[in-house]
């Protein structure tokens, strides 16, 4: 039967945003594997409407497993059901968001069926042998690794925020395939309570402009000028890990594997070398400007506009110039 499967994680507010990111990945890759973009949803009758909506995003098939016991996520139960579904339908790929739930569920499914699983992928390719090449940063040594899976389905989790979200299309309708389960395995887990924790809404992930600083800014005072620039550009301030650890700014501003993922229209990095652990968090930026004394620095290679120079001098000048423009004191406009 096959299929290019995506795990349809849902919560209070409908499907998790990463589901739409996975759909955009699947729409690009599934045709190369001659597979159908399929979202697999576990839940109760309440989900039918939302599941139907998925067709508007270019999904070709929705499998909706329904049972009252599936009203909330339980690792053991959900994994058993997915494992049985895989055995029955033999998908060729199965992707999960690397969310708390996805990271609890995907490895459990992998363990039940003895499958390979690649964590935190940030890119995919399909090779001549129709294998899914899974690309992930290898954290210890600042390189990317290309990984393939000898088992089927080829399973991976995908970092949220890395891929664009699929957009709803003008047309696209369909009916989910409803699988009403008459009985489900007994779960050992019983939910007693949930406590909402307001998500620390990072201004970074939604920002249209991100101005980020690294060790090359040399002092906390220099770094703090970024706030001024961010304000002028209605943007947010980002940072590398070392400067967070130096106490120049709190860790919520960290961009990279250990921090936030950003995808602004404009990213400006001052005194940032461009280690992979940082760049995986800003790969999706539209226009990248780097300011560095070293023209060979990795971020300078990656940049659309590479500014060779001393960031500690360029930053205040840039602020002054942009302020002039914004205040209309600019002769040219």
């Amino acid at each position: 039967m096959g299929g290019f499967w995506i795990y349809g994680e849902w919560g209070e507010n409908g499907f998790h945003p990463v589901v739409y990111e996975l759909i955009s990945v699947a729409r690009r890759l599934a045709p190369k594997l001659a597979e159908k973009v399929t979202v697999v949803v576990l839940g109760t009758d309440d989900l039918r409407e939302a599941a139907r909506e998925l067709f508007r995003y270019g999904v070709e098939k929705v499998l909706l497993f329904i049972h009252p016991e599936l009203s909330y996520f339980r690792d053991d139960l959900y994994a058993e059901i997915l494992a049985a579904a895989i055995k029955e339908r033999d998908p060729s790929v199965f992707l999960f968001g690397a969310t708390a739930e996805g990271q609890a569920l995907a490895p459990r499914v992998a363990g039940l069926l003895g499958l390979g699983l690649t964590a935190h992928c940030i890119a995919f390719e399909v090779d001549d042998e129709a294998r899914l090449i899974q690309i992930r940063p290898s954290f210890g040594e600042n390189v990317m690794a290309k990984i393939v899976s000898k088992t089927r389905p080829q399973m991976a989790t995908v970092r949220p925020g890395v891929f664009p979200k699929a957009e709803p299309q003008a047309s696209g309708e369909g009916e989910p395939e409803e699988i009403r389960l008459s009985e489900v395995p007994k779960s050992v887990l019983r939910r007693r309570a949930v406590y909402p924790v307001p998500r620390k809404e990072s201004p970074l992930s939604e920002a249209k402009v991100v101005v980020a600083g690294g060790r090359g800014l040399l002092t906390k005072e220099n770094f703090e000028k970024l706030h001024e620039l961010a304000k002028l550009l209605s943007g947010a301030v980002g940072a590398t890990r070392p400067v967070c650890h130096l106490g120049w700014i709190s860790e919520e501003h960290m961009i990279g594997v250990s921090g936030e993922t950003v995808a602004p229209r404009l990213y400006i990095g001052f005194g940032i070398s461009g280690a992979l652990q940082h760049t995986v968090g800003m790969e999706g930026s539209e226009v990248v400007v780097a300011v560095n004394t070293d023209p060979e620095a990795t971020l300078m290679q990656r940049a659309d506009i590479a500014v060779v120079g001393d960031a500690t001098r360029i930053l205040p000048l840039l602020i002054r110039r942009i302020r002039e423009i914004k205040e209309g004191r600019d002769g040219a406009s």
């Binding site: 609890a104 992998a110 390979g116 699983l117 600042n142 990317m144 690794a145 007693r192 949930v194 360029i314």
Partner: protein
Amino acid sequence: MNLIVCLKPVPEPGTVKVDPETHTLKRASSELIINPPDRFALEMAVELKERYGGKVTALMMGPPNAVPLLKEAYALGADELVLLSDRAFAGSDTLATSYALAKAIQKLSPFDLVLMGKASIDGETAQVGPETGAWLGIPSITQVKTLVRGENDAWVARRIFEDFEEEVEFSPPAVITVEPETNDPRPPSLKRLLAVRNLEPQVLSARQVDCDPTKTGLSGSPTQVLDVFTPTYEGKREVLSGEPEEVVEKLVSILRERGLI
């Protein structure tokens, strides 16, 4: 109560090398430390022992030179030390690792809880915990911040999701992964440091824990690293250089042209 804590030996950050043949990480040449997130799992286990009685077994799969790390675990409150060590394990991915750990854990039965770190700093997959739970056929509960005994035989874990925390009740045995920074790992005890000098960990081989050789090591790992590479960029980038005033002027005009400011 029998508690097993899985501690991973990881290279001190910055000291890793990649084997050019197999594309796996070369560990032997680097300085090893206990995976820092696993310290929170160890601390949670030791606190549970102090509260409810029992013993803590530290289990580590790694090379023979990881023994000092197990001794460190003793100083931090572990009671029994087990090193799972065999050439057959070299090159294991997370599935093969969790298989071997599950086999060793079965040998250490009966147990109540297996505690693990959330993720390792070198692999950073957070996969080994749930995979081990699956191999053992017992539940896995991830990102747990507190764990207490409830009524009868039940336990209550508080775990972290993205925008909520859940209180979940379960009956042991189970695999728990512990959220980092949710407790305060104690410093090593001097008394224990002295005591551990005359203590050697129990060393178990693949055969001693009945591992199926086809499921271990590089050949037993379903994921295969094809290649490692450093991303290169050959975009049509624009390079601006000169006096700071000059480059700022150029930069601003480009950004304005593109409607970015």
